[in-house]
């Protein structure tokens, strides 16, 4: 069981900020494929991964990253702080 969190327009598109997912995915990319299959909203959120960033357990990483024992995976657009 993994917690997936979404921010900004990904959160809005998916319609939820957080969901619990039962998954055997070994990498972020595999998790993205599973999430995209949930419904058209998820599919739309992940349609263009160039606009999506990912953090595993609150650390920025990329789509090749292993999930291993990850507890929380976050997806969000490129940051616009400052």
């Amino acid at each position: 069981m993994i917690t997936v969190v979404y921010f900004a327009w990904l959160r809005e598109r998916i319609g939820a900020g957080r969901e619990q997912i039962e998954t055997q995915a070994e990498t972020v990319a595999q998790l993205v494929a599973e999430l995209s299959a949930i419904d058209p909203y998820h599919a739309a959120a992940f349609a263009d991964l160039r606009s999506v960033r990912v953090a595993v357990d609150q650390v920025l990483t990329d789509f090749d990253a292993p999930l291993a024992a990850a507890k929380e995976v976050a997806f969000f657009p490129p940051m616009t702080g400052g």
Partner: protein, 145 residues
């Protein structure tokens, strides 16, 4: 001091507290970001990733201190709704000499812009829109590689 908060803060008060906390500094630089009153803009809404924001900023501050020999660096960043003219965030950096204080503050700003988990949404008279990340911000970050 690092703070991610919804409450407004007084930049002059922070600047004075930062100055008073320094010892051995010859140069203090502050940067403050303000909600710019572009035509049609009502205000900004800032979302962040609470579990990640503070540790991410702590890492940036540690990197800036190590790289530029900063004596100290503070970051305050607001989230939630901000009106035009309100201060969004502030960085303060101190160093023995000005070059490092300026570079440290710019380095922190570049990282905060593009690597801290914060997102701005504009509320405009004609609707709302998430602010797109700018290529120029990513390029600005690359110069520190």
């Amino acid at each position: 001091m690092i703070s991610v908060q919804s409450a407004p803060f007084d930049l002059g008060d922070i600047a004075n507290r930062f100055a008073a906390a320094q010892s051995g500094a010859g140069a203090l630089v502050t940067f403050s970001g303000v909600v710019r009153g572009d035509a049609g803009l009502i205000g900004l809404e800032i979302e962040h990733y609470p579990a990640m924001t503070l540790p991410a900023i702590e890492d940036m501050v540690g990197a800036a201190r190590a790289r530029f020999g900063l004596l100290d660096a503070w970051v305050i960043h607001r989230y939630g709704r901000l009106a035009v003219g309100e201060v969004i965030m502030m960085v303060a950096a101190s160093a023995p000499h000005r070059k490092d204080a300026f570079a440290g503050a710019e380095f922190l700003m570049d990282y905060l812009k593009s690597r801290a988990p914060l997102w701005k949404k504009e509320h405009r008279t004609d609707g709302t829109a998430w602010v797109d990340a700018k290529d120029s911000d990513e390029e600005s970050l690359c110069r520190w590689d």
